[in-house]
Structure formats: structure tokens, C-alpha cells
């Protein structure tokens, strides 16, 4: 079995295995039986990704597609790809197993499984692809699959699938979104980013010698220097817009919040290893090969782009964390926290531009960003899976739950406690070591580049982040009050899902001290400054756990829950401007042109002209004589005038 077969199975197994259920959509009985087949397809992908990790590390595979144009199936198993591949497939597989229970009896299973598997396959394509066009194919697959899954419950008839408080209004805006609206918001934002990114790819394709658009082989320095300072800024900014929209960075974050209208399994997948992670991952991957820390001095404009990414990332991180403090809904709180985490990933990866330290041949900052992504993926997926169980049990999307609930849902309680504490950076748990390294990166920027803001934003985000996850924990299992409704049934696959997911955090913790390159990274955790930050995070966590609600802050909490009115951009400003133009075009443009050519002016002119011509032909000799005489007179006058003229 060679690598080509493995890749073929890796990408096609999920898609092929979900075709039967998609085709059997009219046969209810069969549909109920087929989901395990789809899950098996993802299992095949998982096995393949593990095989690639173990047997084919650090290789480059190329299979022809349009070789004349440099568009080929080029796949690589470099450090980032082979690890991310396993992470993606593993998370997708666990969530798929969980989904067998969670989605049982749903009215649209064929749709769900087809797009779920397409989603996984697309992400795997993005992860392994080394060719920019191939990557973009996977990228578009992510976009369409996320649209399908977010709007899964297209009937818009179940309040439990909505986002926002029904009937809540701020000015002209209804702050409540249905699934089909959520899907529309997602795809419209994604398209806004995808096309500029596509343009950037086209431009890079033009500039690259011999049409080569293989990320690891392109002469990035040469290409960007040829583009010039302005060209570099335009191309890379366009590229970044694609990444920012996918990863829900400011100001494109709104779609992610209303993406919570989809099934919880989708939210879990969307927020951990696919879709939003794709943006951060691709950013890391191209940064890996652009090597800005080496070439920034020689390529004008490059530093500007990385500064932009740094700031957008960190501001999004802070915005996400801040808004999450006011969130009432389980999943939306987690969504905002994801945005925040992704911001940290972007910020840290962008900081690599100024970090020269290398570990085992890899840039320190990129390594930190990547391992934060991995840690976050497992922790966030766990939290979403627990949320799904909570929503099932309490029939509510709003955070509520007390110790009684915790005692009756022990597995969920334990998983949540582990996932939250491991993710926020409490020493000595998993994310602490990674976050400490992140502190070190930003500290480096302060000391060597005199940039204070990144460090401040990072610390503020870290503390706020701790508060929001503590709130998630406490409002659902401790101080959230008695649920209005409680209906617990044994759902073993769901429990297996989040327990398996959360156990991965221990594996990562072990790896941090076992793997050479990760230990270099974890060393930052032994510094006193890092410990201080860790203690601050711990204190914030504890305070928020015991005092999750502060009455004095309820106004500002509502403001945060309304996401600082950012929905106005998506739901008010854009449609108002858009429909103004559309109305102009239709009511004035089209009606005017139609009236001129087709219905009024030209037809009327023709009609009167023809009436005029016909009016002459009356049949009386007298009128013809008059016409002839008139013409003769006119001719005579003409001749006379011509004769008189000098």
C-alpha cells in the first residue's frame, strides 16, 4: 500500500461512505440504519492519517492534475500537516460517534451525514494540501459544508435551535436568529473572504516562476519582492481576508455566533479542528514557508502585513473574551471564546515575524501557536459535546444547572471541569505550558521591538478567558440555578464522546514533557513571570466560579451579550445599503430602460411614425398632388437659396 492509495482512501472514504445515505433519502428505514457506515468512512480517514504520521513523515507527494498550469495534487506530510491531519480525523471521528446518539431520529439525516463527512474530507484536504489551488478546493468544501450544517434545521420551527433571545429588539434589529438565517450569514461572510483569497492565489500564481504554487516550494521571497511593497500588502491582505472570515476575526465574527443554530456536533467540529481552525492553520502553514523572520528585512511590506495580523488577532481575542463574559447561551458563550482563542493563535503566529528563536528547525512562535490550536481543539470540542448533552437533558440553550445536575451527570461534570481548567492556563495543567510560551513570545515583542500592546492584550485576554470558561462551568453545573426541565437518559455514545475527547488533554500534557521540541516550549512555564500569570488566571477562575454573576454589571453584560452591537453591521447596515442599490437598479434602472425600449418610448415612436406614414395614404389624388407640389416648392426654394449663396 503506497502513499497514493492512503491519500485516496483518506479523502474519498468519508465522501463515498456518505453517498448511500444521501441517495436513500426517501427511505426512512434505511436512513436510520446507514449512519454507522458514514462514521466508518471517517474511521478509515483516521487510520490513514495515523499511517501517514507514522510511515511517511516529512514527505512530498505529487500527482498530476493540470501539470501545464502547476495545478496538481500536491500533498505534504510536514510537521504541521501530519499532526493536524491526525487531530482533525480523530476529533471528527469522536464527534461522529457522539453524533450517532445525538442525531438519532433527526428529520434530515442524509443531509447531515453527507455534509458532515464532506466537511471532514474538505478539512483534511486543506490540511495536507501543499498546492494553493488544491487547498482552495478544500477551502470551498469547508464553506459549503458549513453552510449546509449550520442551516441543517432549515424549517426554522424549533426555538431550541435559534440563537438569541426571541423577541429581543435593539432599535430596528431583532437579535434572534434562525438556522436558515444562520446559514445565510455564514455563507455570505465566507464568500466575502473567499473571493479576495482566490484573487491572492491567482496573483501569486502569476508571479511564481513556472506556475509553481506549491506552498513549500514557491520562492516566496522572490515572488513578494517582485510584487513590490504595495503588491505584497495587497496580495497578502487579500489572502488574510479569506483567513479572517473563516476564522471569524474582527469584523467578520458575527457568522460564528449564529453558527450555533446548527446541531451541537457541528458546532463542536466547526470550532475545534475544522473551519475556524482552517484559517489559523493555513496562516501558520504559509508563514512557516514564507519565513518572515528571515525575509521581512528584504521584502518591503511584509512586516506591515504581519503587524496587521498581529493586531487583528489580538483585538479579536480580547473582543471575543469580553463579549463572552455577558453571554447567556451555552453554545454562544463557547463560540465567542473560540473566536478569542483563534485571535490568540493568529496573534502568536504573526509574532513569528519578529521571533528568531528556533526549536528543532521550527520557529518558536509558530510552534506555540500550533500547539495552542491542538490543545484548544480537544478542550473546546469537549465543552461543546457536553453542551449538547446538557441541551438534550435540560431542553434549553441557556446556561442553567446546579450541583444536583452535576451529581446526576457526573461524566459531563468531570469532563467540563477538566476541559475548562486545562484550557485557561492554570498551572500546571496542559494549556498553562503553552500559554506561558505565548507570554514569552509577547514579552519578546515588548523587550526587543518595544511593542507593549500585544502583551497587554494577551494578559487581559488570558484573565478574561479564565473568567468566561469558569462561568461556563459554574453556570451549568454549580450556580446556574435549578434547570426548568430535566430529562436524563443514558446516552453512552455521547458520554464516550466527551470523555474520549477530554482524555486527549492528558495525552498532550504527557507529550509536552516527552517530546523534545515541546519540552523546549514548555520550559517557559518554569519562569516566575509565567507562574504569576498562571496564578492570576487561577484566581480569576475561582472568583468567577463562586461569583459568576455581578448585579452591578448586568447592563454592560447585556451590551456584551449583544456582542457590542456588531450584528448591526451584518443585519442592518449591509442589507440597507444593498437593498437601496437594488431598489435603485430595479425601480429606476430597469423600469426606465424597459419603458424606453420595450413598452413606451420606442414602441410609441414607431406607432406614431407608422400612423403618420399611413395617414398620408388616403387614396385621394388631391393629397398626393399636394405632396408632390409641396416637394417641388421645397426643391425650388432650395435651389434658389443655393443660387443666392456666395
Amino acid at each position: 500500500m503506497n502513499a497514493a492509495h492512503i491519500f485516496l482512501a483518506l479523502f474519498l472514504a468519508p465522501i463515498v461512505s456518505s453517498v448511500p445515505i444521501a441517495v436513500a433519502y426517501r427511505r426512512k428505514e434505511l436512513v436510520g440504519k446507514l449512519p454507522p457506515l458514514s462514521v466508518a468512512g471517517i474511521l478509515v480517514s483516521l487510520v490513514c492519517s495515523v499511517l501517514l504520521l507514522l510511515k511517511f513523515p516529512d514527505q512530498h507527494f505529487e500527482y498530476p492534475w493540470l501539470p501545464q498550469l502547476g495545478i496538481n495534487f500536491v500533498l505534504s506530510t510536514d510537521y504541521l500537516s501530519r499532526l493536524m491531519g491526525v487531530v482533525t480525523a480523530l476529533i471528527a471521528f469522536i464527534i461522529a460517534v457522539y453524533g450517532l446518539d445525538y442525531m438519532r431520529g433527526d428529520y434530515r439525516l442524509p443531509w447531515y451525514w453527507f455534509f458532515f463527512n464532506l466537511f471532514t474530507a474538505s478539512m483534511l484536504l486543506v490540511v495536507y494540501s501543499d498546492n494553493l489551488f488544491l487547498l482552495f478546493v478544500g477551502w470551498e468544501g469547508l464553506g459549503i459544508a458549513s453552510w449546509g450544517l449550520i442551516g441543517h434545521w432549515y424549517r426554522d420551527d424549533d426555538e431550541i435551535t435559534f440563537v438569541g433571545v426571541p423577541d429581543r429588539r435593539v432599535g430596528p434589529l431583532r437579535l434572534c436568529w434562525t438556522p436558515s438565517f444562520g446559514g445565510w450569514r455564514a455563507i455570505s461572510t465566507i464568500r466575502l473572504g473567499d473571493v479576495p483569497m482566490f484573487l491572492a492565489i491567482a496573483a501569486l500564481w502569476m508571479l511564481s516562476p513556472e506556475h509553481n504554487i506549491n506552498i513549500s516550494q514557491m520562492p516566496w521571497e522572490e515572488i513578494l519582492r517582485a510584487a513590490g511593497a504595495a503588491g505584497t500588502v495587497v496580495i497578502l491582505t487579500m489572502f488574510l481576508i479569506g483567513l479572517f472570515t473563516k476564522s471569524a476575526q474582527l469584523p467578520f465574527s458575527e457568522w460564528l455566533m449564529t453558527a450555533m443554530t446548527g446541531p451541537t456536533t457541528v458546532s463542536a467540529l466547526l470550532h475545534s479542528a475544522t473551519m475556524v481552525a482552517a484559517g489559523a492553520f493555513v496562516f501558520m502553514k504559509i508563514t512557516w514557508y514564507i519565513r518572515p523572520w528571515e525575509v521581512a528585512a528584504a521584502v518591503p511590506g511584509l512586516e506591515t502585513v504581519y503587524l496587521l495580523a498581529l493586531l487583528v488577532g489580538l483585538f479579536s481575542a480580547f473582543y471575543g473574551a469580553l463579549t463572552a463574559t455577558g453571554m447567556l447561551e451555552r453554545k454562544v458563550l463557547l463560540a465567542a471564546s473560540t473566536m478569542s482563542s483563534l485571535g490568540l493563535m493568529f496573534g502568536t503566529a504573526a509574532a513569528s515575524c519578529w521571533i528568531h528563536e528556533e526549536i528543532a528547525g521550527m520557529n518558536f512562535a509558530l510552534l506555540v501557536a500550533f500547539w495552542y490550536l491542538v490543545t484548544h481543539a480537544f478542550a473546546k470540542a469537549t465543552l461543546f459535546l457536553v453542551s449538547g448533552h446538557l441541551i438534550h437533558a435540560t431542553h434549553s440553550r441557556f446556561s442553567e444547572g446546579d450541583l444536583e445536575l452535576a451529581s446526576r451527570m457526573k461524566a459531563g461534570f468531570v469532563a467540563t471541569l477538566i476541559a475548562t481548567t486545562f484550557l485557561v492556563g492554570i498551572p500546571p495543567l496542559t494549556a498553562y505550558w503553552v500559554k506561558s510560551a505565548m507570554d514569552e513570545v509577547m514579552e519578546h515583542l515588548l523587550i526587543h521591538e518595544h511593542m507593549l500592546l500585544p502583551l497587554v492584550l494577551l494578559l487581559a485576554t488570558s484573565v478574561t478567558y479564565s473568567v468566561i470558561l469558569a462561568r461556563f462551568f459554574t453556570l451549568n453545573f454549580f450556580k446556574g440555578g435549578k434547570p426548568h426541565h430535566l430529562h436524563l437518559e443514558r446516552l453512552p455514545l455521547m458520554e464516550f464522546g466527551y470523555l474520549a475527547m477530554v482524555s486527549m488533554l492528558f495525552v498532550i500534557l504527557y507529550m509536552l514533557f516527552e517530546r523534545h521540541e515541546l519540552f523546549e516550549l514548555a520550559k517557559a512555564g518554569f519562569k516566575p513571570a509565567s507562574l504569576l500569570v498562571g496564578v492570576a488566571v487561577l484566581v480569576a477562575f475561582l472568583v468567577a466560579t463562586f461569583k459568576p454573576r455581578v448585579a452591578a454589571l448586568s447592563k454592560i453584560g447585556t451590551f456584551f451579550n449583544d456582542r457590542m452591537y456588531l450584528p448591526f453591521l451584518n443585519d442592518f447596515i449591509s442589507p440597507v445599503v444593498g437593498f437601496f442599490v437594488a431598489r435603485l437598479v430595479e425601480n429606476y434602472g430597469n423600469r426606465g430602460i424597459d419603458g424606453f425600449f420595450n413598452t413606451k418610448v420606442v414602441p410609441t415612436l414607431f406607432r406614431s411614425l407608422s400612423r403618420g406614414v399611413r395617414a398620408i395614404q388616403v387614396g385621394y389624388l388631391r393629397s398626393y398632388t399636394q405632396i408632390v407640389l409641396g416637394l417641388v416648392m421645397l426643391a425650388l426654394i432650395g435651389v434658389a437659396v443655393w443660387g443666392v449663396m456666395p
Binding site: P64, W65, L69, W184, L199, A202, A203, V234, R583, F597
Partner: protein, 486 residues
């Protein structure tokens, strides 16, 4: 070997005269088969990398040799035409029966008349693409115009005779202007044969201007565009499903051929033409949002997509040229699916008003899912349209550099296509049903052809189809632009 091409092209022409003798179902299947022959024939030539050229007749100057030919560019167009025509023929079986009954006509008798005109219409488009002589091309252009006019006039909706006449007049003006352009070429170059013209490499500005304005009416650009929503909305759906995806884009093909001979017109007037094309596309894109009639909505989307083609033409170069071809194909696939989808709603529920739709996915999941594939084609997501967009973008970057004044409108147009697509899907198919309808069983003819085209549109993105089609297209265009002859 070479005569094969003539055989492929003659099969549907012969069937045109045979099909009316058969009962409706058999006639439709025969038609579909007749178009499958050139489809696979062209694929066969393509995989063999063969360019074919068959002389039909020789005329003295200024007409020159009449011949049919096939290269990678014609392949893209004729594959689209054959695939769509074959599938629409099958789709028409239940649809036209429904229409004839609705009009109070005898289905069996009327179908003979219909299938003859339909076949002639589709064949004329196929022959336009393969015509090696501008005179031959013009003859088929006129046959196409007249047959489409008859179909609208006889079986259209609403004020069909007025709409038919409207279509006829606009396209006649377009045709006559183009003919004048051709005649100017004939008098200046002494020939109308494309291969000889390719050697001469010269089209005067006067000739170009006539052809350009003629074809911009046909395409159509902003202004003349106003005939299109009438014709495409009121034509019987199988005709809309050819008119919109195939016919109008052929104006782009004609301009493409002329610009391969001499692209000077697009080079000299690049900026104004670009501005006009971008304005057309954006204008029509916005108009889509305001349409109440589903078919009219799709018609405006066609205008917007034809703006892409005009942009690709004026961008020119290897990638602009490839962009025209691939964009034509992608639009043909996507729009035929969408028109058939709209037709399905008419046949099943008599629904055309978008405002009265909503939540239809519950009743016709087949059509709803097909529409998703259709709009994915228009937006260039995971279908052959992705390559079209990529080529247009690259062509634009080559022509204009990274000048944002040119680049951003193109980017915005592509975004707009995605927006109106998914906006429409949500409005029509999702949410709570706005009308009291019942789930009806849907005939396989009304949705299977849609998915066949949908699958094709995805297959053409990936190997082996795209490797041979786009790979050959690239070599062919590079050769032709590099000064090679046909």
C-alpha cells in the same frame, strides 16, 4: 479519423428530421442519444488530442472555404451544448405534456412540432460552435434565432406573442449588425474562412465595432439587457433552459473567435469595455435581489454572468480566453439546472412568485438540492466554475496588475453571485412554508437530468476530465494566441 467529426455533427441534424415521426417519449430519448453522440465524440477527440477539420464546400472569394472544425475551444462549448440539450430533452417529456395540456392542445400532435423545432434549435447552436466559416456561422445564428422565436411564440407564457416578437426584433438587430461586421471583413480580407483569417491577423475597427455592438445586444450588456428577462422568463422552461445557459453565451463565443484573429479592439478599448462589463454584472447582480418571478430572477443572474464573459474577453490573453470558455461551461451547467428547477416548481405547483415560495424543501427536496448545485456552479464552489473564476482572476491580474480600481469590481462581482445564490435558496426553499401546499410525487424526468448535469459540473473540475479538457484548452489557446493558425 477526421470525417468522424462530420459524422458526430450530422447525427443530431438527421435526428431532427426523424424524431417528429416518433411518439413523444421515443423522440425525446432519441434526441438525448443524438446529442450524446457528439458529446462522447468530442471527448474522444479531446482525449486523443486531435483537432479535426472537414471541408464542406469551397466558394470563391470573398467567402472562402466552408468547413467544420473542432479544437479544444470548440470542445468546451460543444460539450456544454450537447450535455444540456440532451438532458433538457428528457426533462421536457413531462414538462411539455403539462404545458400542452395547460394550453388545451393535443400533446401527441403538438409534441411533433415542438421536438422538431427544439432539435433544430439545439443543433444550430452545436453547428455555430463548429463552423469554420463566418458565413456558415451566421446562417446557424439565424436558424437559432428563428427557432427560439418560434418556441417562445408558440408555447410561451404570459403575453407570449409580444414577448416572442420582442426577442425576435432585438436579436435580429444583433444578427444584422454582426452580419454587416462579417461583410466588412469579407470585403477587406477577401475571405470568411476562419483559418485564412487567422493567417491574416487583421480585423478592422469598423468590422469589430459592428460585431461587438451586435453581439453585446445578444450577450447582452447593460441597456440591451432589457429584452432578456422577458424572453427567458416567458419562454417555456425547456426553451429557457437552452436560451439562458447556451444561446446568449454564444455571443461570447463569436467575439472570442474574432478576438483570436485580432484582439486589437479589446486591447484599445479595454478600459471602457471593462467598465461597461463590470457595470453590467454588478447592476444585474443587484437586480436579482428584487425579482419576484423566479425565472426572471434567474434571467438577471444570467446577465450578471454574461458580464463575467465580457470581462474575460476584454482581459484577453491566454487566461482571459480560457476564462471565457470555462465560464461559459460552468454557467451553462448551473443555469440549466436552475431553470429546470424553476420549471419543476411551475409544473408541480404552478408557482413562479418567489414571495409565495419559502419552505419548499419539505415538498421537493430534489429540486431544492439541485438548486444548491446550480448556484454552486454560478458562485464557483467545488465545480468547474472554480477554474473559470481562477482564470478570469489571473487574466485580470495579468492585464491590470494589482490595480485595485479594476480588481476590486471583479472580486465584488464574484462575491455578489454567491450572495444572490444563497439568498435565493433560503428565500425559496428554507424557512417555514409560506403557501399551503402538499407534498407531491415528482417524476424522475423532472429531477434526474438536473443531477446528471450537476455531477458533470463537478467531474469537469477533477481529473481525468479536467486534465484533458483544460490541459488541451491551455495548449490550444497558447498556440492560437502565439500566432499559430487553426
Amino acid at each position: 479519423m477526421i470525417e468522424l467529426l462530420l459524422l458526430f455533427l450530422l447525427v443530431p441534424l438527421v435526428v431532427t428530421f426523424v424524431a417528429p415521426l416518433l411518439p413523444p417519449r421515443a423522440a425525446s430519448y432519441l434526441t438525448a442519444l443524438a446529442f450524446a453522440v457528439p458529446f462522447f465524440g468530442v471527448l474522444y477527440l479531446l482525449f486523443g488530442g486531435v483537432t479535426a477539420d472537414v471541408t464542406l464546400m469551397r466558394f470563391p472569394a470573398p467567402v472562402g472555404r466552408l468547413y467544420v472544425f473542432s479544437d479544444a475551444i470548440t470542445a468546451v462549448f460543444s460539450l456544454s451544448i450537447c450535455a444540456v440539450s440532451a438532458m433538457v430533452a428528457l426533462y421536457a417529456i413531462p414538462y411539455m405534456e403539462h404545458r400542452f395540456k395547460e394550453m388545451g392542445l393535443d400533446p401527441r400532435k403538438e409534441f411533433r412540432k415542438y421536438i422538431f423545432i427544439y432539435d433544430l434549435y439545439a443543433v444550430s447552436m452545436l453547428w455555430i460552435v463548429h463552423s469554420g466559416n463566418l458565413l456558415l456561422l451566421y446562417v446557424f445564428l439565424e436558424i437559432m434565432l428563428i427557432t427560439a422565436f418560434l418556441l417562445i411564440y408558440l408555447y410561451g407564457y404570459g403575453n407570449r406573442q409580444w414577448v416572442g416578437l420582442l426577442y425576435f426584433i432585438w436579436c435580429l438587430i444583433a444578427g444584422v449588425l454582426t452580419l454587416v461586421g462579417f461583410l466588412v471583413i469579407a470585403s477587406e480580407s477577401g475571405t470568411l474562412a476562419l483559418d485564412e483569417l487567422m493567417h491574416l491577423h487583421k480585423i478592422s475597427t469598423v468590422a469589430w465595432a459592428f460585431i461587438f455592438f451586435g453581439m453585446v445586444i445578444e450577450l447582452p450588456g447593460l441597456g440591451p439587457h432589457i429584452w432578456l428577462p422577458w424572453a427567458h422568463a416567458e419562454a417555456p422552461t425547456p426553451v429557457s433552459a437552452l436560451l439562458s445557459p447556451l444561446t446568449v453565451g454564444l455571443a461570447g463565443y463569436v467575439m472570442l473567435r474574432i478576438s483570436l484573429v485580432d484582439p486589437s479592439f479589446f486591447v484599445v478599448y479595454r478600459t471602457p469595455i471593462f467598465a461597461y462589463a463590470a457595470l453590467t454584472s454588478i447592476y444585474a447582480g443587484f437586480a436579482v435581489f428584487m425579482q419576484k418571478d423566479f425565472k426572471r430572477l434567474l434571467a438577471y443572474s444570467t446577465i450578471s454572468q454574461m458580464g463575467y464573459i465580457l470581462i474575460a474577453l476584454c482581459v484577453g490573453g491566454v487566461f482571459g480566453t480560457m476564462g471565457v470558455a470555462i465560464q461559459y461551461m460552468s454557467h451553462a451547467f448551473g443555469k440549466s439546472i436552475l431553470f429546470m428547477c424553476a420549471g419543476g416548481l411551475i409544473a408541480l405547483y404552478g408557482l413562479r412568485d418567489v414571495e409565495r415560495m419559502g419552505g419548499l424543501h419539505d415538498y421537493v427536496p430534489e429540486l431544492s438540492n439541485a438548486a444548491v448545485i446550480g448556484f454552486m456552479n454560478l458562485a464557483g464552489i467545488l465545480t468547474v466554475g472554480m477554474l473559470g473564476e481562477l482564470f478570469i482572476l489571473r487574466g485580470a491580474v495579468e492585464a491590470f496588475g494589482l490595480n485595485l480600481a479594476y480588481i476590486l469590481p471583479i472580486v465584488f462581482i464574484f462575491i455578489l453571485s454567491g450572495w444572490y445564490g444563497f439568498y435565493t435558496i433560503r428565500k425559496v426553499f428554507y424557512g417555514r412554508p409560506r403557501s399551503e401546499l402538499k407534498s407531491k410525487s415528482i417524476s424522475g424526468y423532472l429531477y434526474v437530468p438536473l443531477f446528471v448535469i450537476g455531477v458533470l459540473s463537478v467531474l469537469f473540475l477533477f481529473p481525468p476530465l479536467s486534465s484533458s479538457l483544460v490541459g488541451n484548452l491551455y495548449e490550444c489557446v497558447r498556440y492560437l494566441i502565439g500566432g499559430g493558425a487553426l
